[in-house]
Symmetry: C2
Subunit: 246 residues, 2 copies
Amino acid sequence: MSQAQPRLRIEPLDVGLGLRKQASDAIKRAIMDMDIYGRAGEIRLDERRLSEDLGVSRTPIREALSVLEQEGFVRSIPRRGIIVVRKTKREIVEMITVWAAIESMAARLAAGAATPADIAELTGLMDAFEEDPTGHLTEYSDANMEFHRAIIRLGGIGLMSTLTDSLFIHMRAVRAVTMTQDNRAQRSVGDHRAIIAALRAGDADRAGRLVRDHTMGLAAHVERHGDFLDGPNAGGVPATNETGGK
Amino acid sequence: MSQAQPRLRIEPLDVGLGLRKQASDAIKRAIMDMDIYGRAGEIRLDERRLSEDLGVSRTPIREALSVLEQEGFVRSIPRRGIIVVRKTKREIVEMITVWAAIESMAARLAAGAATPADIAELTGLMDAFEEDPTGHLTEYSDANMEFHRAIIRLGGIGLMSTLTDSLFIHMRAVRAVTMTQDNRAQRSVGDHRAIIAALRAGDADRAGRLVRDHTMGLAAHVERHGDFLDGPNAGGVPATNETGGK
DNA sequence: TTGACGGCTGTGGCATACAAAATACAAAAT
DNA sequence: ATTTTGTATTTTGTATGCCACAGCCGTCAA
């Protein structure tokens, strides 16, 4: 009966306020913590199990899962259950492309509006890793993300930050891998410095182009080396029976 | 095994599969049909009233409202109820800017991949209005939207279509107004023709730039003349933070 | 007369109970 | 032995009831 079901480890949350949001956060955390691409087969989430693990009834669980579905973490198949989505390489590349489009525009806008203090913040993020980013890949990965988020923020369009944030969440699994390949970290620093220079010069065209090329380069890289995403069970969504048991 | 059977294909009989979606669609339709910007004061939605009107219980209504909240149509205030959101001018401008960013990138991608048939489809959308779009503003407004959606589709990034579609829904109220001002419809046709030419020439840079300038022009126009959005009750529901579903 | 406090009502949040559907298992027939 | 069908269990979808909190109104006191 209770086979090797990927039972998520989560802490029972205390009831108080915003029970639905707490539940969605907890489940989201649990999903991000588990290695989605390691396991094979579809990962199903059982409402009843979740409700008893979290100590709340199924109603807030369902609403939380509805939120997570909108955010692209799970997919609800009508009468069949809720499964954790596994982003395909194709989908990741699409997300990076959208990211490139948005950040490029943000850089254009930032080029005309960024203050010296803003520029200083950007340089500050890179300064710690100028010499040898390869040694501290984990830290640099964070600083890298923060750099891009900062540029988008400097664009002044809040919606851009909202959208890209929800894109970035799905790329946690990709970040670590891509960094270690191809000396990408080192080249990344160079690209970033060029972007900062363009922003400081107020050159919107150049800033937009550099950002676009930089991120599209990541897209091309994932396109080439991101086959681990489609991993063991390739293809897309199996339309019909795929029990996978035994 | 028994796969080659010419099994007759029957509609999956979507009744029952998605009472929640039916509810969300109905409520969404109702929201879009009413003139949100005409009325003053906050528009509250009562769960019990809705469930009574739609003939279903409150549970699917709540889930439908949860979906609508994620899509940005309504806003749930913890113990106060659910109100219909009114997009501010600022938010509309932000949405148009994001739209410009995405469609510009899509045009770049489309410039290298569009087939003559694709180009013909685009020209076909515009041909009917070349002479005098001012006479058939409603029809042209639809064709205009379809033109932009087609370009985004030609970019080949499905995520772009998904994102922009959800953006476009919120701009119905703006479409009609902006078209009638400033001879925008007529100039729109000219811009579109130039965009088609760039796509036909395979000039990614030019196509991307033209699309960006065209849409950013709309953003600037709304920025200038879109005060009716914040209209009667300026700042009716200001940034009270919280909720807002990410 | 005015302001504050307390009960009353209405609405949303959560839990639980019930029904329908799909899958898994088993048995029987070919 | 394999396939098919019937049954049972699991699991989702829906309904309803109860509870907590917010807003409102009336009354009482200063």
